[in-house]
């Protein structure tokens, strides 16, 4: 019982530390043009070029993933990939991605926040 309550707290703390660490490794962003540098030419960047065609940071209705962690993005994409009954655009897209590609996209989107 104890561990089930503490578990999420520890997980949250670890994720926060990972995120803070990731943020510190990023260059200082300029206004609305973040300097992505080392990740911007990566395979993760290439795999992610379609995403903001619909998920641009315009504050509109389709979920804006810019505050999502890599873990959360990976969870969603994996759900879409494996939910065989789904018919949405995201289901159709995610079925074309390998688990490794999903992980790279999730990592890139988190790093490029």
């Amino acid at each position: 019982m104890m561990s089930s309550k503490i578990g999420p707290i520890i997980l949250g703390a670890v994720l926060t530390l990972i995120l803070l660490n990731a943020c510190q490794r990023q260059a200082v962003p300029r206004a609305d043009m973040p300097l992505l540098t080392d990740t911007s030419l990566s395979k993760g960047a290439l795999l992610s070029v379609s995403c903001n065609n619909c998920h641009a940071k315009t504050g509109l209705g389709i979920p804006n993933y810019s505050n999502h962690s890599a873990k959360r993005i990976k969870k969603y994409l994996t759900f879409y990939k494996t939910d065989t009954n789904g018919t949405s655009v995201m289901h159709r897209m995610a079925r074309g991605l390998s688990d490794e590609e999903i992980a790279l996209i999730a990592g890139y989107l988190e790093a490029s926040k």
């Binding site: 990023q26 030419l41 070029v49 379609s50 509109l60």
Partner: protein
């Protein structure tokens, strides 16, 4: 005019260092590069915006003669009357404010050996890498009689701009009981489902305003994108209004007579109230001038980085490319643009091109507030772009009205995101 405009030759245009401040994983060396982009549509504007975003110090010049861009996607919604042409209009100020040099002149020649672009008014730009996003040109001589006069009275409204306004005005002026014709070219052409979206919205208008009228689609093909979804919608929403004729069922338009308002197929002369003639297409003119076009009239590219297979250091993106099975769409053009941008920077840094997964999503309105969609997922790891098996597809035929309304909402977000990424506006 700025200083550069008065100079006859810009071959000395400064080269800027491309500095990667935190690049431990790739390389810490800076590179020098001038990148020139010809064409300010979804492909060219997205490429300029994206390059500036990932490498703010890079020197980017966008050559586009027009000072405003009128988007094709969503333009069919003007037929309904609730959408205005101003909703289609985008300026280049967003790109300029982010540091892109936007030159509103026409590119009239490219010298791939000297690596220069000649502009109207005889200026010359030098480049290290040239991205051409030329869009489409029309093979107007493929249809007898479709000269300048006919292009005005039977507008294709297929190249953006304000032609759609002229088409809508003509539609509103037809008499009830008229025949409206849409002629669709053989593939490949820009926006494969576009003519059928237009047909749906014209039928919606006719049903409400000119109920005795009918719409005939004369098609140069035997089948079309999202066909089952469109045909279901037409049967449910516009019964007895739309007639679709395939190429083998006398759908091929041979000629038009604008003075008599006639559209002529192999076996029939149709007297029309309005004709929307969409001619066969090829790559935009500058691609031909630059020697980027093959016998098909389109531009062959290396799928991994969109470099031309015919010229060095020139990349072609968007509708002009041979990128099938990816359709010629704004979404595809934006994907080409961003992949090409990353690969150019990788090349400048001495890194090998990196294959990836590409995708496309297009929404089509079947009624003013209902849409259906098609998605494709592709790989560029082989010699040509290929569909990824088991992925992609369309809205299911069983989709409810609520789901189609939700897709119309998603389409709106798509449009706003796409235009934001290209032009910096919301």
């Amino acid at each position: 005019m700025m200083d550069w405009g008065r100079r006859n030759t810009l071959t000395g245009l400064a080269t800027f260092p491309l500095t990667f401040t935190v690049s431990q994983k790739i390389s810490a060396q800076s590179v020098m590069a001038n990148i020139v982009i010809i064409g300010g549509g979804f492909g060219g504007a997205s490429a300029a915006m994206f390059l500036k975003k990932i490498s703010p110090d890079l020197n980017i010049t966008l050559v586009e003669p027009k000072t405003s861009y009128y988007a094709c996607p969503f333009s069919n919604l003007l037929i309904d009357g609730k959408r205005e042409i101003t909703n289609q209009k985008f300026s280049y100020e967003g790109l300029k404010s982010r540091g892109v040099n936007v030159i509103h002149l026409r590119a009239i020649d490219v010298d791939p050996v000297k690596k220069t672009v000649t502009l109207s008014e005889s200026q010359t730009l030098s480049y290290d890498k040239l991205i051409i996003s030329p869009g489409i040109a029309f093979q107007t001589n493929a249809i007898d009689g479709y000269g300048e006069l006919a292009q005005k009275s039977m507008p294709h409204a297929w190249a953006g701009g304000q032609d759609i306004v002229r088409l809508v005005r003509r539609l509103k002026n037809i008499n009830d009981g008229s025949t409206v014709v849409i002629s669709v070219p053989q593939a490949p052409y820009r926006c494969p489902p576009g003519p059928y979206e237009r047909a749906s919205l014209i039928a919606s208008y006719l049903k409400q305003n000119k109920p005795k009228s009918k719409l005939i689609i004369l098609d140069g093909k035997e089948n079309f994108s999202k066909q089952a979804l469109f045909e279901r919608a037409w049967a449910e929403l516009y019964p007895n209004i739309i007639e679709w004729r395939s190429a083998s069922n006398d759908g091929r338009v041979v000629s038009v007579d604008a003075s008599k308002n006639q559209v002529i197929t192999d076996f029939e002369t149709l007297n029309v109230g309005l004709a929307n003639i969409i001619p066969p297409q090829k790559a935009g003119h500058i691609a031909e001038v630059a020697g980027l076009v093959d016998i098909t009239g389109w531009c062959p590219i290396n799928p991994v980085d969109f470099s031309s297979t015919l010229q060095n250091d020139i990349y072609v993106i968007g509708d002009a490319t041979i990128a099938a099975p990816m359709p010629k769409s704004a979404f595809s053009a934006a994907v080409h643009a961003k992949i090409c941008a990353i690969q150019i920077l990788r090349n400048l840094k001495g890194l090998e091109p990196q294959p990836t997964i590409l995708s496309n999503t297009c929404y089509s309105f079947i009624a003013p507030e209902r849409a259906v969609s098609i998605t494709g997922v592709y790989s560029n790891s082989g010699k040509a772009i290929q569909s990824v098996p088991g992925a992609g597809g369309t809205t299911p035929l069983t989709a409810t009205v609520l789901e189609k309304t939700a897709e119309a909402y998603q389409a709106n977000i798509w449009f706003q995101s796409m235009t934001h990424n290209a032009f910096g506006s919301i």
